[in-house]
């Protein structure tokens, strides 16, 4: 399973472009290799589908996009596709008052502790809000 390469590039001559709107800028050759999806990435996809369905309507494609586009340039370039997705889902749940930031962080700490207790490696990495 190969990891997509991440790099940060200045939006040279970008003027008023939004951070995601890079069409036509020089970013070098496109990495066309297929990447396998991890289980959490598939779950992220499923979660977004559930949160935006007609029953829940917690978020829309448009608000999800907007949250991703609001990321700073460095974070935008550094994070992978589904890292952007899960961050946006998390932030929208807080923005919409479904969960609080404290609830999410407490649950993350709880899960980390459970993994460590079971001798599994738990990532210390945090996705910035």
């Amino acid at each position: 399973m190969s990891e997509p390469k991440r790099k940060t590039l200045k939006r040279k001559g970008a003027g008023g472009r939004a951070v995601h709107d890079v069409g036509g800028l020089e970013f070098g050759p496109i990495d066309r290799e297929e990447h396998d999806l991890a289980l959490w990435e598939k779950r992220t996809d499923a979660m977004l589908g559930l949160l935006r369905d007609n029953k829940r309507r917690v978020l829309s494609v448009d608000s999800h996009r907007r949250t991703i586009e609001d990321y700073g340039q460095q974070e935008y370039d550094r994070t992978t596709y589904y890292e952007k997705w899960i961050r946006a889902v998390r932030n929208l749940l807080v923005e919409q008052g479904v969960l609080t930031r404290e609830e999410i962080e407490a649950r993350m700490a709880e899960i980390r502790a459970r993994h460590e207790k079971a001798g599994r490696k738990a990532s210390k990495e945090k996705i910035p809000w």
Binding site: G16, D21, S60, D62, R65
Partner: protein, 108 residues
């Protein structure tokens, strides 16, 4: 781009500003907030290829607003060699992009 079409209301839809075959120009302005008109098309000339329907405004939906009144979405056709300075492909190459009415103007 898949999105639900707006259900027909009691009021007749407002007249469309453009029709298929009309030359148009993409507004050359900066966006505030969420925007679906790519930067590389701002100020570029194209031709209306089709009417895609009327849809709620994604620039408002992105902030949990209703996005009404719905806007006409056009399929606009551009010549690739008019979009890119050093376009190396055939002169007949075209690009079709969905653009909402408030981003289109009559050609200068």
């Amino acid at each position: 781009m898949v999105r639900a079409r707006v259900k027909a209301g009691n009021d007749a839809p407002p007249a469309r500003r453009f029709s298929p075959g009309d030359p148009v120009r993409v507004a050359d302005r900066e966006a505030v907030g969420h925007c679906r008109t790519p930067w590389y098309l701002r100020g570029k000339a194209g031709v209306v290829a089709a009417i895609q329907g009327r849809f709620r405004n994604p620039e408002m939906l992105a902030y949990h607003k209703p996005g009404l009144p719905a806007l006409t979405l056009y399929k606009v056709r551009f010549r690739q060699n008019q979009l890119w300075d050093r376009y190396a492909g055939p002169a007949c190459d075209q690009l079709e992009v969905d653009i909402f009415e408030h981003w289109l103007e009559p050609p200068k």
